[in-house]
Point group: C2
Chain length 123, copies 2
Amino acid sequence: MPNDVIGAERCDCDVIHDDVVARVRKTIPRDETLFDLAELFKVFGDSTRMKILWALDTSEMCVCDLAYLFNMTQSAISHQLRVLKLAKLVKNRRDGKVIYYALDDEHVRQIIDQGLTHINELP
Amino acid sequence: MPNDVIGAERCDCDVIHDDVVARVRKTIPRDETLFDLAELFKVFGDSTRMKILWALDTSEMCVCDLAYLFNMTQSAISHQLRVLKLAKLVKNRRDGKVIYYALDDEHVRQIIDQGLTHINELP
DNA sequence: CAAACATATGAACAACTGTTCATATGTATT
DNA sequence: AATACATATGAACAGTTGTTCATATGTTTG
């Protein structure tokens, strides 16, 4: 299903590069997929959530563990865990009063590692 | 170099989970690294930039090609290309009046692919 | 060198985001 | 049942972000 192809103003070089534009149009994913992808990365794009993900990669933890570990409010952590859960990056289980959170996806680590590689290779 | 360890309020289970917290403290990267990582993913967390990255993965393109392709203002594209360039994800070369942008990193595709895998595996 | 073109950039504005504060929900203990 | 504890959640607020508009920079062409 092709994306929005309704024309904007074209400059001279658009016409020259018509083939390139056409090639991209054929291979680029649907708008909705690109939007979902951006939404996913947006979740990784906050240092509090990044800390939480990294912590949970070591071990499952409860909310107050995380709050104590990062010296943050229980409420702030809880709000962010909600975001992570909606993105299916994190799952939880209840044990009495305590709720334990854990990573819910084996790709989380891989995505983060790719990011680390990029950062470490910068000059 | 250890991160901020100044104490927040501890709940009862913190004390119980002291070992877990200590283990995370030992293995988690420096605050600065986590911040940089989040900054990197933030760049992927916008659908306009995601579109641009995907387009440039097919072929280098000039600014007005991208504007035409996505039916957006030249200015809007230009602003986002600036963000991508600051993140070292994109490089450019000048050819007369026209400036061509291209991916500047072989990890871009891999990072995006990992994200796609996550999205596609959702139920 | 003047006009046309491609791109960059600063200011302004609306929309979005993350934290805090107050409070609600749910569970265990006595 | 009442209290204490762990977590969730809604409202509010400040800070951030992406687009638009106007304009500036830099290059080519006549």
